[in-house]
């Protein structure tokens, strides 16, 4: 028996057992059309009555219908569904054979499919991925509504954005997510074979580094999964849930990406891909042990990618390998399925300055992340007689050996002063005069533990059936690394704000969650309703009492309703209409970095006496400020949505409107306080420190702390329309797209320094103002992708032509007045900024001026691209694919206010690959 038949869809477990009178028993058996073997766990449903069951180990099933004739549908993932009418029950057994989709030539699904489920699920299967020819998981996002084909960007961390426009610059260019608005990416959970890929213990960043540094661009701390690290080659299917998730999933804000890796007997498959940026090789094989149904899958892959093909100094490599075992075990009460896997995943980012081109001759960056994972668990599927249906346990341990190395020639401009100790108080620093080589190492050893227990039950009723679910989840994140290591006298730049820090001193973060949910199915008069109500609670049980989060339990209610209208047959074709709605809250706890940020060191120069002939002395007073925000709350997202799906004779349209409001997203913000120190007069340069004339000076200095200061509001409409394949030309049309409206703003004011120095006094030493958030934008876009999917089975040829249009992209900066609402002075007092302050000799410098046109909406008009992808089977073993993105582009010129004409150009991106299946 083929192993993929063991795949189970629990959500389709519905049966209606009790009937008042006149029950008609229908018995059947379901087999695999390709092998003739019986199929277990296929879902069988009386469409007209909403009753359903699943097949047993021999493929047998039985149902009790209220009347005849009735229609029965049999569905199984990876197989074409069968819909059949039963007119009488005299046959002993109704035989239904399901054809696997991979063999039903001419009907390979090469796009993402809206599943029409209650959580806004969209599914991408292996065929779609093979045709798309991805380099990493990031490329798959093209298939989601609202996304377009994008060149791989291997030079920086790839964070996921679901249902949002992402960061857009003033001139309408899409860039990486701004650090202030990464909570959506951080709040998208990646679940591989039931186990969470946690990012909470990732601390591979250099504190205080300039944002243009090679290490900053590749920093994925607090940005969720870096999708570059996920290879697509061992994935069987991906399901992206964008809507209101089941209570089973938590510690998220935006959504869930469920990755199911290949399992079962698969032929040896080898893939080679080459494009402008990268070369990729992967191989995999799955087999049964002897004649048993125990299965083992092995795969490995390698990617070598250059950020710019002309530059060999910057590249990204990925190595992945995995061995997975699935061991089914039959017993009297049901079926036990054990699974376990060992995984290895490594990414290596490297960038170095070209010594021939760069002024800083030595400038090397290398970041390697080696992750080792074990995961295991069991699924128990009870026999049909028991009220307990399933019991699942999943656990995983992931351990990483991460090392970020920076090796750089540093040339201080004139002399720079550096502190020599990590202790607070007064001490003498050192002048750095000559060039030196700085070595900076970030050593991280993240350890993540995940455990989840879940059980489902089933209580049938005549009209209402209940299918409750309950469970609990525990995760732990800890970093055992040596942390940030560098010599104080050789910092990465002459102005260095931090000190070495050991990550292993940071406490572990533990997250405990439970969930309980009921799935209620109600059938009445041809209508059927699925109502899901659940609640998930999460807390950090071991967090210190100083934190607000200590002892607090956060509850996420989740409600989903699906209403299936009675099936009718207008125009002789079956019409099914499904309406849905959902409301829910999702809560994301802070990461390890946000709970335990590095201390801030404030080094104030008390004496700066440079006397090469005499005694040079730099005296420093160091204040150490704890950067923890004990008042930090979790980021909470409120979501609601409405959906409609229409299926008429195989033509499917689904539309959903969504609205998400998250006013407590994470960001770092600086707050200011006065610091008093002694400033010594350096003129009588031979005297000791104590006898120098001095005075006490108080200035304002800032500490950057994690806050809940970001506001992310997302709304929009997503749609997908798929036609039936027109037999004569073998073509179907898929139109998907989205209107997305995203507001990124600050939910609190921001303290900002001004740079003016007046009369030898820095204004920001005396006053710092509180302003409207200056990193707030509202973006809007509308796009459609029209894909013509032509499949000619005779030639083993699949050609898709995708016309991708971004109809408009607009961005508007939120108005900021530039006049502070409040200001802080050196006494620490916060006062309202009045009209008198606006003409005060010093305080008036706090007023910032903005050109009013800055807040106008900037709109980029239509851009249209034509992308072509071709897959051709050659002989028995070889399949060749090629793609050209932006083969043709139409980007009309447009003019901006000043009258200049913006001309847009693009270059095609192409590649090809060969897949051997032996």
């Amino acid at each position: 028996m083929s192993l993929s038949h063991r795949f189970i869809l629990f959500s389709t477990l519905f049966t209606t057992l009790l009937q008042a009178n006149a029950v008609i028993k229908i018995n059947g058996v379901t087999t695999d059309a390709s092998t003739g073997e019986p199929m277990q766990y296929a879902s069988v449903k009386i469409i007209t009555e909403g009753k359903a069951t699943i097949t047993d180990g021999e493929g047998r099933w039985h149902l009790e219908a209220a009347s005849l004739p009735c229609r029965i549908s049999v569905t199984y993932i990876g197989y074409q569904s069968v819909d059949t009418a039963i007119t009488d029950n005299r046959a002993q057994q109704i035989s239904i054979a399901l054809k696997p989709t991979s063999l039903t030539t001419g009907d390979v699904v090469i796009t993402a499919q809206e599943k029409g489920g209650m959580h806004g699920e969209i599914k991408i299967d292996r065929n779609a991925m093979a045709h798309l020819q991805p380099t990493s998981f990031a490329d798959l996002l093209e298939l989601l509504p609202g996304n377009m084909a994008k060149d791989p960007e291997m030079g920086h961390a790839n964070s996921i954005t679901l249902r949002e426009t992402g960061t857009v610059t003033a001139l309408g260019a899409k860039t990486e997510l701004s650090d202030d608005y990464t909570t959506g990416a951080m709040g998208t959970a990646f679940i591989v074979d039931g186990a969470l890929l946690s990012t909470d213990s990732d601390m591979q960043s250099i504190t205080g580094i300039n944002s243009s540094d090679a290490s900053a661009k590749r920093n994925s701390v607090n940005k969720g999964i870096d999708m570059r690290s996920i290879s697509t080659d061992n994935i069987e299917s991906v399901e992206v849930q964008r809507g209101i998730p089941s209570a089973e999933y938590g510690n998220i804000t935006s959504g869930i990406v469920k990755i199911n890796r290949r399992k079962g007997s698969t032929p040896f498959t080898a893939r080679f891909k080459a494009d402008r940026f990268s070369k990729l090789f992967s191989a995999g094989k799955g087999f049964n042990i002897g004649q048993s149904d125990k299965m083992i899958n092995i795969d490995a892959g390698y990617l070598d990618s250059k950020i710019d093909p002309r530059d060999s100094h910057e590249n990204f490599q990925r190595v992945n390998a995995s061995i997975r075992a699935n061991l089914p075990l039959n017993c009297n009460y049901g079926l036990w399925k054990w699974h376990t896997s060992i995984d290895y995943n490594a990414t290596i980012d490297a960038a170095k300055a070209d010594p021939d081109l760069n002024e800083n001759k030595i400038d090397i960056f290398k970041s390697s992340k080696h992750n080792f994972g074990w995961q295991g668990g069991f699924n128990f599927i009870a026999g049909t007689q028991s009220w307990l249906r399933t019991l699942d346990f999943d656990a995983s341990i992931r351990y990483g050996l991460n090392r970020l190395e920076r090796h750089k020639l540093v040339a201080p401009a004139r002399a720079a002063a550096v502190p020599v100790t990590s202790e607070p108080g007064v001490h003498d620093g050192k002048y750095l005069m000559r060039e030196y080589i700085a070595d900076y190492i970030v050593d991280g050893k993240p350890l993540d533990i995940f455990m989840k227990l879940k059980s489902t039950a089933y209580f049938p009723g005549s009209v209402i059936s209940h299918s409750p679910m309950a469970g609990a989840e525990y995760t732990m994140a800890k970093n055992l690394g040596d942390g940030q290591i560098f010599e104080l006298l050789r910092p990465l730049s002459a102005s260095w704000p931090t000190r070495p820090r050991k990550y292993s001193d940071i406490p572990a973060m533990q997250l405990l969650s439970f969930f309980i949910q009921d799935n209620i199915t109600l059938t009445a008069g041809g209508h059927s309703f699925d109502f899901q109500a659940g609640i998930r609670g999460l807390m950090l049980p071991a967090i210190d009492k100083k934190y607000y989060l200590n002892g607090r339990l956060y509850l996420d209610p989740r409600l989903n309703l699906v209403w299936n209208l009675p099936v009718c047959n207008p125009g002789g074709k079956e019409l099914r209409i499904t309406l849905g709605a959902g409301y829910g809250m999702t809560t994301r706890m802070p990461s390890l970095d946000q709970l335990y940020p590095a201390d801030t060191y404030i080094d104030l120069i008390q004496l700066n006496r440079y006397a090469p002939s005499g005694e040079s002395r730099v005296n420093i007073r160091t204040f150490i400020e704890n950067s923890c925000n004990y008042d930090l709350r979790p980021a909470r997202n409120h979501k609601y949505e409405f959906r409609a799906a229409i299926n008429w004779g195989g033509n499917r349209l689904s539309v959903s409107y969504f609205n998400e409001q998250m006013s407590s997203a994470f960001r770092y913000e600086t707050s200011f306080a006065p610091y008093t120190f002694t400033r010594y007069d350096d003129s009588p340069s031979s005297l000791p420190l104590e006898s120098l004339p001095s005075r006490q000076i108080t200035i304002l200095e800032g500490v950057s702390r994690p806050t809940n200061g970001s506001n992310i509001k997302k709304s929009g409409v997503e749609f997908q329309f798929t036609t039936q394949r027109w037999k004569t030309i073998g073509t179907s049309v898929i139109i998907n797209g989205a209107w997305l409206h995203t507001e990124y703003s600050g939910s609190q004011g921001v303290w900002r320094k001004v740079n003016d120095v007046v009369n030898n006094i820095a204004v920001s030493d005396m006053y710092v103002g509180l302003y409207d958030d200056d990193n707030s934008r509202t973006n809007e876009q509308f796009n459609t992708n029209i894909t013509f999917d032509t499949q000619i089975p005779r030639f083993g040829l699949i050609v898709t032509t995708s016309l991708q249009c971004l109809w408009w992209l607009s961005t508007k900066r939120q108005y900021v007045s530039g006049i502070p609402t409040e200001y802080i002075d050196t006494s620490g007092t916060i006062s309202t900024f009045t009209s008198d302050d606006a003409i005060h000799p010093i305080k008036h410098f706090l007023i910032k001026h903005y050109n009013s046109e800055l807040f106008d909406t900037f709109t980029v008009p239509l851009s249209m691209y034509l992308n072509v992808k071709i897959t051709k089977k050659v002989g028995r073993w070889l399949s060749l694919s090629a793609f050209v993105n932006r083969l043709i582009d139409y980007q009309p010129d447009y003019s901006v206010n000043s009258g200049i004409t913006i001309r847009r150009t693009s270059t095609p991106y192409f590649g090809m690959e060969a897949t051997f299946t032996i």
Partner: protein
Amino acid sequence: MKKFFLLSLVGALLCTTSCSDDDNITPQEPVSVIITLTHPEDIDPSSVTDESVTFKNRTTGEETSTSNISEIKMLPGLYDVNYAASVTLPSGAKGALLGSKSGVTVSGTQCLLELSTYQMIPTDDLIIAEIFFTGTQQPSGTQYRGDDYIKLYNNTDHIVYADGLTLFESKLNTTERIDHNPNIINTDVSVQVLYTVPGNGTEHPVNPGEYLLIADTGIDHRDANPNSFDLSHADFEWYDQSSSATNIDIDNPDVPNLDKWYSYTKSYYVLHNRGFKAYGIARIPIDKDTYINDYKYTYNYTLVTPAGEFPMSADAYRIPNEWVVDVVNCSIEAKYAWNVTAPELDCGWTYCGTIDQDKTRFFKSVRRKVQLIDPAGRVILKDTNNSTEDFNPECVPSEIELQGTAISAAGDKATTITYDGVTPRM
């Protein structure tokens, strides 16, 4: 070249300075250029003699001069135009009349060009003799910042006191033309840095033919960069006191500090090391507090880039042109867009390096040309308020010459000694 004559006198006002377009004309046909001159009010037109006008083609670099300014025909193109004449003042003193306009488009059948002239009077104060803004390089090739300096010179025949002289840097860049609103370029210089020489008025005398060295940091820079040189003998330094260890400046107690009136940056201030600014000196006749309170200047502009436009707003200070003693526009040939000061202050520009990020610019300064050396040996420097004419670009800096220190990252030493970077010193 065929020439055409028309000279309009004072009062003839024309609204346009650019030329009319006519697409029907083949572009290579010479175009008549009709110059309308507007002289200062107290100038009698009949006292103007020896007129000449120079057209420099921006694209080809070709210069065309003529003294017959009434009959000019030029090939179509983009030109920088300079006008010069002698004038006898009512007082009987001889002076010069100058006028200039940059970026004149000559096209169509006829080009109407309106030029305002101004009278040039030799500066009766210190003038800028040298600006070393590029800095030096470390042996590895890395830029070194801190050894930049400005040298002032007493070009007069009497003692001039430096007290109260304000050093400034322009807010605007010469490499980026912006339409700023309000536009004050004809009346004021917009500035972002102001440092003033301290003193009661007679504390810091500069004798005729003497220099005043104002350094960024008055230390022996060879301690930090073996390729640099000694500035510990500087007359003044600009010191930026900071409490933060992240951007400290070095204060040599033996070199007096300039009084920092205003700076746009909290970090230490260095001269623009690609030289995109105008540098100048001014005598501000009002006290510091009044100036700081009353001479702020806020303007809007649109930054236009190939990718689109950015509406911007900026804050600066302004110095009325009458207070300005001397100003030098610096730029680079590849990106020069305009002069950021009025033509009467400076109608040319000078440079170190020709392209952006030019690596050949290091160890080089701009130095004012020697006009003549009088019998007593006093050097008279050229001062026509045209930095293109008055300065030698890309010279070995005078301090490097005098100290015989490095002129390249490799450490090659300076061997020549000159008056102005070109004229050898005997």
